[in-house]
């Protein structure tokens, strides 16, 4: 094994020789430079392999002196990993920088090497003064590198940066000197022991000096002004290199120095500074219009987060791995993003609209890295954050979770604000194409690839290995995303095969070990829904090129979520689902902005759920099966947080504003899935997660009001409010969007009843809603595809042109409205019986009212599209594509089957609820008659009755009167006038005007006003905060002083 000291030696040696070698040509010097870095990478990786294999960490003693007198270096697994990362970044950075004129000189090469050496030294050394030396090497290297830039702003920023860096080093050196005075040693390990014996009054001040020095170097809030200017002004490639080398090394140094800080007040001070930096930097980043500046804030925030975790590592080793994951994640993502920023060249956020229109690899990398840094799965940052949160939850420091989650949400806001521009359709002004040189983008691709690979590996480890269908679906999806050559229809066909295969596989699995019942039900719902969409996709284009790949990832994540038994697996699937569906929503023509709103609310929901899960984790519970063990206040908190999160995700009244846009603007083929399946996942959460938390635990909540009753009213209000809003929509998909949200409200309400009958109602509706709403959305998708419009006023009379779609919508609305004899009636019947059974009488009445209101929009939907007057331009329109009709046919068959024989589903549901509640909700009196404690109905008898009446009356109509003749479309009674053209007499606009007038008092836009108020306040805060950074060096000095005072107050208090 190579001695690690050689890493430093070789670096230094080559660095000094490079100018000489350069005489032989730039190619040679570059090759040598790269070879040196490669050497470093290989050596450190081999060490890493050996060390993780159980080898002893290397202790290097320099100059033959034994520590503490001599300087010693340590090369353990952490060190090896960090050094490898530094070398890797440096290689990629070198490749990238070679394409940038001012950085392609031999001087630059030398300094790049020096930076790596400095970082390696900082990482390995155990000596404080030695630390200072390497700090200076790194510092000088970075100033020099930044100074190569030719822009005036860059130079000015570089100077300020240098000034701050020097001041920081001075603080550090002063502190070290005093420490030496106090303890008589410079060796870190030695000093820790000796310091505990020192009781001199000034020791706190000394420690403060060291800390301020390091914190200033790490650019924590509010000392990060110059650093952020640097991000904005300097070449991004240089910053990427600094992130991978110096910044990581500094972080590690801080980690090492942490051993000196013993008192709780120190730990609190560090945590406070770290968390403040995290939250404030993220807040300020929201209002940034410049990408690089935003990335700078993000770096500060990430550093803050890691610093925040440092004090807790002492008490919980789990946090160590959290820290490592976060650091890895940050390096990969931030370096990659900085390179991307350099390659793209867009400085303003708005320059990024439809970035990299012709390179899917770059787009995927960009998206993956943004997701990674935003802390979403499957990327390492997610797992890091999870572990950090678990660590916090299990300690007394759990209140820190709240700012951590708030900060993370803010992080989502600006990263997805950026992503919103990127996912917009490419226009003429879209920039960024894959340049000819592969080497420039190699780093980006490498880092993105690494992030994805780590992600897949980590996810697989939670979801039961790479062979898990969920993981495989995800991988196929990833391949499809990248594989741009395959036509959309072929991709859809492949998706059919993939989903079909998963269905078979799940069936096989079910044979071996019985799936947990609720989970099995939702699995069937999800996979059937996915299959339907994929089949329909063979017939019509959907979204953009990466639709099907993302769709498979989405399906995979849902499968993973549903099959995972651990809370972590559930939440990972949840977040995966969130972002993959975000991309799909954004693929609609106008989908970018609604997509952002969707993502933000989903993100907020995610963090609420995370909070709930953390409450459980804090009690030492990490699998769903154990959730029942929760009790007392923890159970209440967990239940409330989870329920609130799921309620946001189902777009309950009050937080529904994301739903209409997301549903209506998402690609037409995706909306059925969004409505039929994705909206059911939070329902699954309620049924499988929240409901497992034992109900008696919070009977005394709010003076006797059950939380479940509150949830029921939330569901009921949603059902009513959304139904009412659906009535007034002028856009077919928007109408169905509101309707979807309302229908899920019924489900929430039914589940909240927590009775066998209520659950039967809720779960029946889950299946039924999937069937009829997918059917409706698919039929509308076909109509939109053919007519090119979603507005009711632009359609009409299509029944003659699209009869099968008409039948689909007809069956859909009958099933929706609950009119017998179709399956919707069973749903309504179950719901009302359940509610009366539960004693929620007023709710029952209002739900009956809501169902009656639903008729209004049902009729409007079918009338405005299919009935009334056919437009002139639609006279030659064709029926929807065949695969779309096949999908609809499957759904119709399913609806009819459930209508004639509700027992097909009700019987399994009875087994299910019996398993949960110990008793069934329904009895089966005869083969077809279904009875509950309150009532009964006989679906087959009603169906027969209707059919018999229908046939008799049809015969009457055909034979009792004269032969009827069909007349032309405009041959109507129009006051004996010749009617005007169909466009003028198709009554479709403002269809329920009197209704709107009647409901005016309660139809205010208070909800929208509230949320835009929230947005305004946040932005105003961020705006005010942004002014902190004046760009003036004097103010920065003032901040430094204030910072020291505050820190002293916090740290010395104990």
């Amino acid at each position: 094994m190579v001695n690690p000291i050689l890493l430093i030696a070789a670096g230094l040696g080559v660095a000094f020789l490079l100018p000489v070698i350069d005489r032989a040509g730039r190619v040679v010097s570059r090759a040598v430079h790269l070879l040196t870095l490669l050497f470093g990478l290989i050596v450190s990786l081999r060490w890493l392999a050996a060390l993780t294999g159980g080898a002893q960490a290397a202790q290097i003693i320099t100059g033959g002196w034994i520590p503490p007198i001599g300087i010693n270096l340590r090369f353990g697994p952490l060190e090896a990993a960090l050094v490898a990362l530094a070398n890797l970044t440096a290689i990629a950075a070198a490749l990238y920088l070679a394409h940038h004129e001012e950085q392609s000189t031999v001087k630059s090469l030398v300094i790049q090497l020096l930076l790596v050496v400095g970082a390696t030294g900082l990482i390995m050394t155990r000596d404080l003064f030695n630390t200072f030396v390497f700090l200076e090497i790194s510092g000088i290297g970075s100033y020099a590198l930044l100074a190569f830039g030719r822009e005036r702003d860059g130079l000015e920023a570089g100077f300020k940066y240098m000034a701050l860096g020097s001041a920081a080093s001075t603080f550090f050196l002063l502190g070290v000197a005093f420490l030496y005075k106090l303890t008589g040693t410079l060796n870190l390990d030695d000093m820790v022991g000796k310091l505990s014996g020192v009781t001199v009054a000034g020791v706190g001040t000394v420690l403060l000096l060291v800390m301020v020095g390091l914190m200033a170097e790490l650019k924590l809030f509010p000392l990060n002004g110059p650093a952020i200017d640097i991000y904005d002004a300097a070449e991004p490639g240089v910053n990427a290199l600094l992130v991978g080398t110096t910044l990581n090394a500094l972080m590690f140094t801080f980690f090492k120095v942490m051993a000196l800080y013993r008192g709780n007040s120190w730990l609190l001070a560090i945590a406070t500074v770290g968390m403040t930096t995290f939250v404030v930097s993220n807040l300020l980043a929201i209002r940034q219009k410049k990408v690089r500046r935003m990335l700078g804030y993000s770096s500060s925030a990430q550093m803050g987060l890691m610093i925040f975790l440092l004090p807790f590592i002492r008490t919980d080793v789990v946090l160590m791995s959290a820290m490592a994951l976060l650091l890895l994640n940050h390096t990969l993502a931030k370096a990659g993003l900085l390179w991307l920023a350099g390659i793209h060249g867009g400085r303003e956020l708005d320059d990024w609209r439809g970035a990299f229109p012709d390179s899917i690899a770059m787009r995927v990398s960009l998206a993956a890295l943004i997701l990674a840094i935003a802390g979403l799965p499957p990327f390492p940052g997610f797992w890091g954050k999870w572990q950090a949160l678990v660590g916090l939850a299990r300690s007394t420091a759990w209140p820190w979770i709240i700012p951590l989650l708030v900060g993370s949400l803010l992080e989502l806001v600006y990263y997805f604000g950026w992503l919103r521009r990127i996912v917009e359709p490419a226009g003429a002004e879209s920039r960024g194409s894959l340049r000819t040189a592969f080497s420039e983008v190699a780093g980006v691709l490498l880092f993105a690839g690494l992030a994805i690979a780590f992600g897949v590996r980590l996810t697989a480890s939670v979801w039961g290995g790479l062979g898990n269908p969920a993981i495989l679906l995800g991988i196929i999806g990833l391949v499809l995303v990248v594989a741009q050559g395959i036509s959309q229809k072929a991709q859809a066909a492949l998706s059919v095969l993939a989903v079909g295969w998963v269905i078979l596989r799940v069936v096989q699995l079910a044979h071996g070990c019985p799936l947990w019942d609720v989970r099995g039900l939702f699995l069937v719902v999800a996979l059937f829904g996915a299959l339907i969409i994929a089949i329909a996709g063979i017939g019509m284009p959907a979204g953009r090129g990466s639709f099907w790949g993302l769709f498979l990832i989405l399906v995979g994540s849902i499968v993973g979520l549903l099959t995972s038994d651990s809370l972590l697996g559930f939440f990972a699937g949840w977040e995966l689902m969130t972002w993959s569906s975000y991309f799909l929503v954004s693929q609609g023509r106008e989908g970018a902005k609604p997509g952002l709103l969707y993502m933000l609310f989903s993100g907020a929901a995610g963090f609420l759920i995370l909070g709930g899960l953390m409450a459980a984790e804090g009690a030492g519970i990490d699998s769903m099966a154990q959730l029942g063990q929760l009790s007392g206040g923890t159970a209440l908190a967990a239940w409330c947080l989870l329920a609130a999160g799921f309620a946001v995700k189902v777009a309950s009244w009050g937080v529904h504003i994301w739903a209409p846009g997301a549903y209506s603007e998402s690609p037409d083929l995706f909306t059925p899935f969004l409505s039929g399946v994705i909206s059911k996942v939070p329902v699954f959460g309620l049924a499988a997660v929240a409901a497992r938390i034992s109900a008696p635990a919070f009977a005394a909540f709010l003076g006797g009001i059950e939380p479940a009753h509150v949830l029921a009213w939330v569901g009921g209000l949603t059902a009513f409010g959304m139904t009412l809003l659906a009535v007034f929509q002028e856009d077919a998909k928007r109408l169905l969007a509101y309707s979807s949200v309302g229908q899920v409200g019924y489900i929430v309400l039914a589940l909240a009843a927590m009775t066998p009958l209520g659950w039967t109602a809720g779960l029946w509706h889950v299946v039924n809603h999937l069937l009829f709403k997918s059917l409706l959305f698919l039929a509308v998708a076909g109509v939109v595809y053919r007519t090119g419009t979603r507005r009711f006023a632009d359609m009409g009379g299509l029944i003659t042109r699209m009869p099968i779609s008409f039948v689909s919508v007809l069956i859909g609305i009958i099933a929706l409205s609950g009119v017998p004899p179709l399956s919707g009636f069973a749903g309504k019947w179950l719901l009302y019986e359940a509610l009366v059974d539960r004693g929620w009488l007023l709710l029952t009445g209002f739900m009956m009212f809501a169902s009656a209101v639903a008729f209004l929009y049902c009729f409007r939907l079918i009338h405005s599209i299919f009935l009334g007057q056919l437009k002139r331009e639609h006279r030659e329109i064709r029926e929807a594509p065949a695969p779309l009709l096949v999908s609809q046919g499957l759904l119709m068959v399913a609806i009819l089957a459930l209508s004639v024989r509700p027992r097909l589903l009700l019987e399994p549901l009875q087994r299910l609820v019996t398993g949960i509640f110990g008793q069934p909700g329904l009895q089966f009196a005869s083969a077809t008659k279904i009875t509950s404690s309150l009532g009964y109905f006989n679906a087959a008898a009603i169906m027969t009755l209707v059919a018999a009446l229908f046939i008799v009356l049809l015969f009457f109509l055909l034979f009792a009167g004269p032969k009827s003749r069909k007349v032309g479309q405009l041959d109507i009674v129009y006051a004996a006038e010749v009617p005007p053209p169909p466009e003028e007499i198709h009554y479709a606009w403002a269809f329920y005007m009197p209704y709107e007038r009647a409901f005016k008092p309660i139809l205010g836009s208070t909800v929208t006003a509230f949320w835009s108020g929230v947005k305004d306040v946040t932005e105003a805060l961020a705006d005010a905060g942004r002014r902190v950074y004046t760009g003036d060096a004097q103010t920065y000095v003032l901040y430094t002083l204030l910072f020291i005072l505050v820190l002293a107050g916090l740290g010395l208090a104990g």
Binding site: G797, I799, T800, L810, I814, S817, V819, P820, K828, W829, Y832, E833, V836, G839, L841, L842, G845, M848, F849, A852, F855, F859, I862, H863, L867, Q869, L934, G935, Y936, F937, A941, I942, L945, V946, L949, F950, L953, L954, F956, L957, A960, G961, P962, S964, R965, K966, V967, Q969, I972, Y974, I985, H986, Y987, F991, Y992, P994, Y995, R997, A998, F999
Partner: protein
């Protein structure tokens, strides 16, 4: 009772309901005429109209949906009638009420309206959808007090079965829900005005505005079927109200008297009021009737 006999009886029942429904229609016209100081048509005029419409020589329709819409309408009316027990204790006159409870009846009511709406809309005349939009709007709003009343009754009787609800009212007229829960009854009887669509709630057909509303384009045998549906549906509604609020009936004459009284509640109101605007009608039902319904439900909650 064997199924064949049952079917035979129900056919008789349906024709009986049709005859009764048409006769009631005739009586209404007579009553309205007398109120206006006219002689009025003979009571059997609706039968003649029905016969006339069936003896026409030509008929027109506008497409499949407009062809089968009257079937929906009539099937809806007859179906609802067949699901409501007319005379309790006489199996022949309890119809098919064993196939579905009160909820089934409530939702079957929509069957005819929905089908009719579809057919009328296909006919392409703008008055049809205007009428339907008014009708649906009004329907949804009177549904609220009616639903609250139904919930109150069901909770009171502990069952959604109409038979059970009737049985719970036995033992003297003070046990009728009309008196046992007067608030719910008030809500339901106000909703009944909307259901029957006489003035002031005749906004669907609104003469002088959208002359006949939805059925503008229907003629000949289609119109006859609509008349059949309307007549049977009217009977089904009043029988349902009798079962829910007036303790059902034990004999046919009793049923006739009770249903006649229920129906004439809306006729007499209709004779003296002018028409509401659509939004006034909606606001009306969401006002006092709804409050009465809520009070009725609360009465049940707090008295049990």
């Amino acid at each position: 009772m064997p199924l064949a006999t049952k079917i035979l009886w129900s056919i008789v029942g349906v024709f009986g309901a049709l005859a009764y429904g048409l006769a009631i229609g005739g009586v209404i016209r007579k009553v309205m005429a007398r109120i206006q100081g006219r002689i009025g048509p003979p009571v059997w005029q609706p039968y003649i109209d029905l016969g006339k419409n069936l003896s026409l020589r030509t008929a027109t329709h506008h497409g499949v949906m407009s062809f089968i819409a009257p079937i929906f309408r009539a099937a809806g009316g007859i179906g609802v009638f067949l699901l409501v027990p007319v005379v309790i204790g006489v199996p022949a006159l309890e119809n098919f009420s064993f196939s579905g409870d009160l909820l089934m009846v409530m939702y079957f009511i929509f069957f005819g309206s929905l089908g009719m709406a579809l057919g009328a809309a296909e006919a392409g005349h703008p008055h049809s959808p205007i009428g339907i939009s008014r009708g649906l709007a009004q329907m949804s709003s009177y549904e609220l007090p009616f639903a609250l009343a139904v919930v109150a009754l069901a909770a009171q009787a502990g069952s959604f079965s109409i038979r059970e609800i009737i049985l719970a009212q036995q033992g003297g007229w003070l046990h009728w829900n009309l008196f046992a829960n007067p608030l719910a009854a008030a809500a339901a009887f106000l909703a009944f005005l909307g259901m029957n669509m006489y003035a002031p709630f005749n906004i669907v057909g609104a003469p002088q505005e959208i002359p006949v509303g939805p059925p503008t384009e229907f003629n000949s045998q289609f119109l006859s079927l609509l008349m059949v549906g309307r007549a049977t549906f009217a009977v089904a509604k009043i029988v349902l109200y009798m079962d829910l609020f007036l303790g059902g009936a034990h004999s046919l004459p009793e049923a006739l008297v009770k249903t006649f009284l229920i129906y004439f509640w809306s006729i007499f109101v209709g004779a003296v009021f002018p028409r509401f605007r659509t939004e006034q009608s909606i606001r009306f039902f969401l006002g006092w009737p709804t409050l009465a319904g809520i009070a009725g439900v609360l009465l049940v909650i707090f008295s049990h």
